[in-house]
Point group: C3
Chain length 347, copies 3
């Protein structure tokens, strides 16, 4: 695909500084771009080093100003959100392959299954009884859908995903491969020294516009629901236990674990490998740092880090001290000696 800078500017509503007739042949990253690629720059480290990209054109923020001579060979396209503009172009240059609607003959489909318009149901898909599949849904090969599940319109369920009975998945959901939704929670009753299995009769409710990464495990409610709110995005290898509630537009990075019955607010960010204990509440808009161990409630709009968690600002200080503990200890011992000397003198 070839597009002139002016055609691109129309697509992303950009103001052009430079030659509008220049031809763009591809999209690429700041570092890997060639002469006819377009890229973008938002962060200061890129904006202050525009000369280092070989891209023919760079999308920059509206507010960005630069000396004309500094980068006279680079065409600038100014928009209010260069990252969004750039990835709009990526989609244009890399249009999705259209797959024809079909239900593969090897799919094993149960009774009372309602399928919306234009479905794609791949080979070796299993669908249980009483299932509803929305229009334009794509169940890729090897997907398992249990009884009484509903899958929203335009949902994309990637290969080898397992969705157990009663799960409800909203519109436009993307579920990556290897993920298991609706597994039984880790719940047992102690009875004469044995762990007796508790029947898990609840289910998982996943809202609209959710993306779940690869190899996640999201357990059903023991009784009642595990809830993933609208617009939530999870990275890979995330564990979400029974009866957890996650508010709208929350982001959960890779390898996070959230224990049972915890309530995560809206617009929360939980960084990679953080562990959240059970039965607590994390307020709307809060941020949990990487590898943090959160063991009690976090109020709204707080940033916490560390193990155990504390305000992030404090954790930054603590972190600096931890590696200097040997010196602190040495100092403490030297003080002891000096104190004794002084005490002897003062006797």
């Amino acid at each position: 695909m070839k597009l002139s800078v002016s055609e691109i500017a129309k697509t992303i509503h950009a103001k052009v500084i430079g030659d509008p007739s220049f031809v763009i042949k591809g999209v690429s990253s700041f570092d890997d771009s060639g002469a006819h690629d377009i890229t973008f720059a938002c962060e200061t480290k890129y904006l202050t080093n525009l000369k280092q990209t070989k891209a023919g054109a760079v999308i920059v923020p509206d507010t960005f100003t630069v000396d004309k001579n500094y980068c006279k060979n680079i065409i600038l396209l100014k928009t209010d959100n260069p990252k969004v503009s750039f990835f709009k172009l990526v989609s244009k240059f890399h249009p999705e392959k259209k797959i024809k609607s079909c239900i593969h003959h090897s799919a094993d489909i149960g009774q009372h299954v309602e399928v919306g318009k234009n479905p794609i149901i791949g080979s070796n898909v299993f669908i249980g009884d009483n299932v509803q599949i929305g229009k334009n849904a794509n169940l890729m090969p090897g997907v398992y859908i249990g009884d009484d599940v509903s899958i929203g319109d335009n949902a994309l369920i990637k290969p080898n995903v397992t969705i157990m009975e009663k799960t409800r998945i909203g519109k436009n959901a993307i579920i990556h491969s290897g993920t298991v939704i609706g597994s039984d929670g880790f719940g047992f009753a102690q009875n004469f020294g044995k762990h007796e299995k508790i029947i898990h009769t609840g289910y998982v409710h996943i809202g609209d516009d959710v993306e779940i990464g690869a190899c996640n495990t999201i357990d059903r409610g023991t009784l009642g629901m595990t809830v993933i709110g609208n617009g939530v995005k999870t990275d890979n290898l995330v564990h979400i236990a029974h009866n957890v509630k996650i508010g709208d537009n929350t982001l959960i990075v890779a390898q996070v674990g959230i224990a049972g019955s915890t309530d995560i607010g809206k617009n929360v960010i939980i960084a990679g490998n953080a562990s959240i204990t059970g039965h607590i509440k994390i307020g709307d808009g809060s941020i949990v740092g990487p590898c943090a161990g959160v063991c009690s409630d976090v109020p709204e709009n707080k940033i916490v880090s560390g193990m155990p968690h504390m305000p992030h600002v404090r954790w930054r200080k603590v972190v600096n001290i931890i590696s200097r503990l040997p010196e602190m200890r040495k100092k403490l011992f030297s003080f002891e000696k000096r104190l004794k000397d002084l005490e002897n003198k003062n006797e």
Copy 2:
């Protein structure tokens, strides 16, 4: 389903305080119950707030006493283990769907496979050669069973589970989706700077009454066995390396990792995201705290926490101090000044 309180009392051997003819229509949690639901209360926070549930009846411990007027509208059912009693009722109100025994035509079954009575073998199941499947076993769609595997009676293998060659799984096992049993361990021999693959000829032995969570990875022994004892329960995303031995009735919470050749005792509890190093021994009855890093032997019946692990009581103290390290450091510097002042005066 509708049951009178007296019918329920018979089922769970409870003593009734209140109207035995009251009709119960469902089971629910303390917080979500409606007027005709039954729930249970074991913990003090629920028992001291019985008025806060809207349930018509609550199962409480034998030993629980309460002023008659305090909760005169709630029917109490007293048993010695309310949680076990309650989940017995859950099973009664939510009877399991009976699936007819069948072997799906798309299952790919090898030679010399013995299958017990009443098997359920789902679509797209693969079974290798020389496999034994016990009676009433249920291999759900997409399950892979390698050569020379044996699966015990009543085992339930959920969709998309992978069980590699020579694995032995006991009676009544439940293996959740996405789990891989019998993968090769992480073992290489260094040879002229390259990592040469070691052939893993061992296998995994899983006892009776075991439940393995979703997306676990349990490696085969390099030589000899990896052993999961009877009654062991694991949560999701647990990693168990080659030649690990886990004693009976041990509980392993989500995202725990256990390195090669480690020996975990009976009735141990390992909390979420803990890491256990290789070639060590954790004694019977011990408890490992969440996110702990265990790097040496733990004797029997100890509670350890922290990174690196230490007695839990000590870790509780350490945890309190870690967040106060900046103040400790400040104090230390102020002492230095005061010491110098004193030393100058005493010269």
Copy 3:
């Protein structure tokens, strides 16, 4: 299988001390060996306790010397790399089962697929369009291969592995079950408070002689590549984010997470459960300790540990002090009192 000690010595180029006609019937570990087994000993703890094995023969290093009378009943075979020699024998005693080349009738194979000589394509395998499969490749049951993928010669893809579009996998690769390669990275653009999905057009490039453990997740490049170098080995449940580069012969132990765009050198070792932040560089030959949290660049040939990471030698000291923090704090408070006393006296 039965082999005389002299036959074995020929196979592994060993010098024999003891009876060359003695018959060996099996290979086993130091602790589990019987009278007609052969085992090996490299580490001092085994070499100094040779009497404790019941093996008939032990492979030991060339340089090992021992008093004749100390272990007169054990035949010694000396080689320069006993571990490599031993596992060569393991392969001899446990020859791999030969599987006949075949393409199972249930495999769902797309258009323009080139398959090399002697392929094994199992039941329920899905292969997309424009795929190249090398000679002797083995795609086990339930494997998903997306469009435009290439798989090298002799590759072994275990059951239920998912390989998404455009992935390139080198020769002799082994990919264990449950692993997902080429999932979309965790990348969103913020747009009016919503997380807009970024199209991921990159891919994953995996070199030759790579082994990837079970339930790994390796994301495609957002733009450009995620690269796993030649000879890299990963353990189970490892997460490798978009655009990560991993150098040749690097080892990554279980449950490690590597965030986006990080560059790991050659011959690096990353121990279990370590977390590596995004956009950093870890130099060739470095070692990252277990559970470490690496949050900035690590130069070549360094050993780092701890959270946050620091030189390993320092971390060892810090670790010792952390558990003694309560005593340090107590001492600090006692100093305060003693300082005050001295100050009062000196007023």
